[in-house]
Amino acid sequence: MDPVELQVLTGALHAICEEMGAVLIRSAHSANIKERRDASTALFSAEGEMVMQAEHIPVHLGAMPAAVASVLGKEQAPERSWILNDPYRGGTHLPDITVITPIFSPEDASGGRDRRLIAFAASRAHHADVGGPTPGSMPADSTTLEDEGVVIEPRVLDDAAISELSEQMRRPDQRRADLRAQLAAGRVGALRLSALEQRVGPEALQEAFTEVLDYAERRTRACLSKLEDGERTAQDVLEAREGDLRIALRAEVHGDRLTLDFTGTDDQHEGNLNCPLAVTRSACYFAIRVLTDPDIPANAGAYRPVVVIAPEGSLLNARSPAAVVGGNVETSSRVADVVLAAFGRALGQGTMNNLTLGDDDVVYYETIGGGQGACEDAAGPSGVHVAMSNTLNTPIEALELEFPMRMIEYSLRRDSGGAGEYRGGDGVVREIEALAPLHYSLITERRRHAPPGAHGGGDGAPGRNLLDGSELEPKAIGELEPGQRLRIETPGGGGYGKAR
């Protein structure tokens, strides 16, 4: 395929994914999907290789292929779609629901008896609630998957399934609308791709799939071969309730290939910091995009030169039915961190600072920004989301209007970024006073261990969680009485190079 055709078809496939994303975001009801854009869309070949993805959420990068793989062996038909969220059957954590729509060649004039399966369209969206005991389905204290909400094994998604599943979750009207939005995204993907096939012909479309995958592979290999050959190691910890858990990495570059081996990582635990392998892969792929070139199309070809090894039963390849909700938001950040650390990068805050406040009527969930690590040629930005998260903050004025709470302080946490030739970004301070009795839940990291700097740069300051001035554990749940104040100080990023 010539270089023009390659670029035009790459653009066309990308445009289809983007249009699917626009349709999904436009027609969903959840604020999560609409406002925070916590959703991704992708196209897969009939063999289940991810050909193109619209770039929305890093943690979805490597996890969609596992979802499509889980329905590959099933009987496909036009107008049939699949749904799943089971982290051990292609999902990530339960609130992320995936809908997969097989795409068939267009009907021919004779009535379309020989419609061939040509591809799959897939969308993944973070639903505001998927049932379970905790509103918002993000519990800090879960120990099995059942504690985290409704587990959906791969099944056909029709009207009956939509009703049955929605009824088991909070706000069933909203769930129905969000699921229909995902179906609409799949239909638009199917419509556009079959129209593209009609225009360029079946052979050219299949050739385009092959070429786009090969193209991404060539570009990744070109970037990897610029890295120095050899073995690098890095390790870091997660701050579980029972104590620190170890994540170990041996990264080996050999020519234009990269192996990421997490052997030596601690076993899965009783809490919810476990990851299914798909989440571990996503975090690795995100780090590889940072180390190579974010302009490379995010598809299966880009990751062909990469091998990810995580022993079964470890934190990074957990067995069912271990709880996983913290794995998706926190462990994934640490996996990306160790890969970047192995390649000499200063690290960012390394946590999403998940805060849930609520009572019987209201639930307020947010993630809080912090310091980004410095680069070899620039300071790290302050007060931003880092790595695996990519969402907006809730305005103070909106928060105080909607919830019985008052914001006492929201500011940059000065000098929390690591020193260095280039400084790490500063974290933020968010202090909230309860105006009514409220239940709180905190899932945070980097409270006991600082985000490290690199090449002589200083560490960022670790974060702190304070209740009326006394320090809380990184994972904490409890009650606030009116007048009590919860203060979150998020970590600073690591610095780069010796300070002058």
Binding site: D2, P3, V4, R26, S27, Y215, A222, I296
Partner: protein, 482 residues
């Protein structure tokens, strides 16, 4: 700023504080020079598509950040209305980028707030989307072997290789020249003469890297640039729930007309309009736009507090403020007031803006809001509590009416017809060339190029039409696949 959400408000204030001293210095020098030349003091285009007096603009630079695109959009809407077209996608392609906006029911679509250069601005502005593809965009081979166009641009200096100002990298303009859509014997606006051999050298270098023939490479550059713009137009229209097939494509800017037919074909658009004043539409926009001052305030009226009298009182207060701050000349009519209401269902994190009367009943607002909510999001919910978040009032004094067609009669004297060889879809063809201002009724049928004073329209096979009484070219597709 007057609206809620502290970050957006602070960011707007910061932008205003940082830019106003710079803009004030410039505008005051401009006013002095105008005074010396005996020209009246200029009024300034704001991001919202309305004009304001120079002193107000000098004090509030944040009002003016989209001044240029807003002028272009206003001019485009005016030309579309004059051509009898109410719905159009406007496509302004210049040297380094391409601005896209939507005209619906004859008016440029606005948004209540936007992000410019990564900084949120909580002020009303025309909804313009920018893509980094223009005539000066540089074509290159990426490390994976694909042909790419932009985002790097040669700009106007050194400019494309064919400008002969030291540029050696191939650009979109070089491709248009090599393919024969532009001509070396027709200088561009500003008298730039084009050197086709320089284009050929630049493109041949890239073609060798890509293992393509130079002409195939040039066509490839055009296709890749068009694909970028089609992608942007698709997302812009889908996000607003618009089917582009029901819209005309209004092509302007120096390079817009060269790409319009192929882009329209990709989007299923069957009508293109190309104004005679294509290269200076922004200036036309300045002449015809109203003077306008917007003032806004977040009020959070819901439940029993949301009633006719409460709304009317806010509108009246804001209206008086807007009229005062408009600083309209004393003579002439009093400024007209228009009200916009930003509403949401209680608990939603975003608002939708609807127009309303100055004393609307809450039921009228609910009806308008729910119609828009269904259009944007596919549903509405009459049981949910409605909340009026922000009220915005505009005071406007209408701009000038200008005739676009006055001199198109004698313009006919300047029309020359000729032909030249060109390459299209890999084939050598003869393009009919129309040079100069074509009189009303001139028929045009592809393959042809119309060389207008400030831009060039490429009419590909399957497209034909004529020049209307305003000098605007309207062409339609016969729907075939060419």
């Amino acid at each position: 700023v007057g609206t809620f959400r502290e970050f957006e408000r602070a960011s707007t204030t910061e932008v205003d504080a940082a830019l106003s001293p710079l803009l004030a210095g410039y505008l005051h020098r401009l006013a002095e020079r105008c005074d010396e030349a005996g020209v009246p003091e200029p009024t300034i285009m704001q991001s919202n598509g309305g004009l304001i007096d120079l002193e107000s603009a000098a004090g509030h630079a944040a009002w003016t950040v989209l001044s240029g695109p807003a002028g272009g959009a206003a001019g485009a809407a005016y030309v579309a209305r004059a051509a009898g077209i109410s719905d159009a996608l406007c496509f302004d392609m210049g040297g380094t980028s391409c601005d896209v906006c939507v005209v619906q029911d004859g008016a440029v679509q606005e948004q209540s707030a936007g992000t410019i250069a990564d900084r949120p601005l909580a002020l009303p502005m025309v909804a313009v989307h920018t893509v980094g593809a223009g005539g000066g965009s540089i074509a290159w081979r990426d490390p994976g072997g694909a042909l790419r166009v932009g985002p790097r641009s040669a700009g106007a200096d050194p400019g494309p290789a064919c400008y002969g100002r030291g540029g050696t990298e191939p650009t979109v303009t070089d491709a248009n020249l090599l393919l024969g859509y532009l001509s070396s014997d027709a200088p561009l606006a500003g008298g730039v003469e084009l050197d086709v051999e320089a284009s050929e050298r630049a493109i041949t270098g890239l073609a060798e890297d890509l293992d393509l023939e130079p002409l195939a490479c040039a066509e490839g550059i055009i296709r890749v640039a068009n694909a970028e713009m089609v992608r942007a137009l698709r997302v812009v229209t889908v996000q607003r729930g618009i089917d582009p097939r029901g819209y005309a494509l209004l092509a302007f800017g120096g390079a817009g007309g060269l790409h319009a037919a192929q882009i329209a074909g990709e989007l299923g658009i069957t009508e293109i309009i190309c104004p005679r004043a294509s290269g200076v539409l922004a200036a036309l926009g300045l002449v015809v736009s109203p003077r306008r001052r917007d003032v806004q305030r977040s009020v959070f009226l819901g439940g029993d507090d949301l009633h006719r009298d409460a709304i009317a009182e806010v509108v009246a207060e804001l209206g008086e403020q807007a009229r005062t701050e408009l600083n309209a000349p004393d003579e002439g009519p009093e400024a007209e007031l228009g009200a916009t209401f930003e509403l949401r269902y209680r608990g939603q994190a975003f608002e939708l803006a609807v127009q309303g009367s100055l004393e609307p009943e809450p039921e009228q607002l609910r009806e308008a809001f729910e119609r828009l909510h269904e259009e944007r999001y596919g549903y509405y919910d009459s049981d949910q509590e409605l909340e009026l978040v922000t009220v915005r009032v505009s005071a406007t004094v209408a701009g000038a009416e200008v005739s676009l067609g006055e001199d198109s009669e004698q313009a006919g004297d300047e029309l020359e017809r000729a032909s030249r060889a060109a390459t299209l879809d890999g084939e050598q063809i003869e393009l009919e060339v129309l040079r100069g201002s074509a009189p009303a009724g001139t028929e045009i049928s592809g393959p042809a190029v119309v060389e207008l004073p400030e831009s060039t329209l490429l009419v590909t096979p399957g497209w034909s039409g004529e020049v209307d009484q305003n000098g605007t070219i309207k062409i339609r597709s016969d729907g075939g696949d060419h």
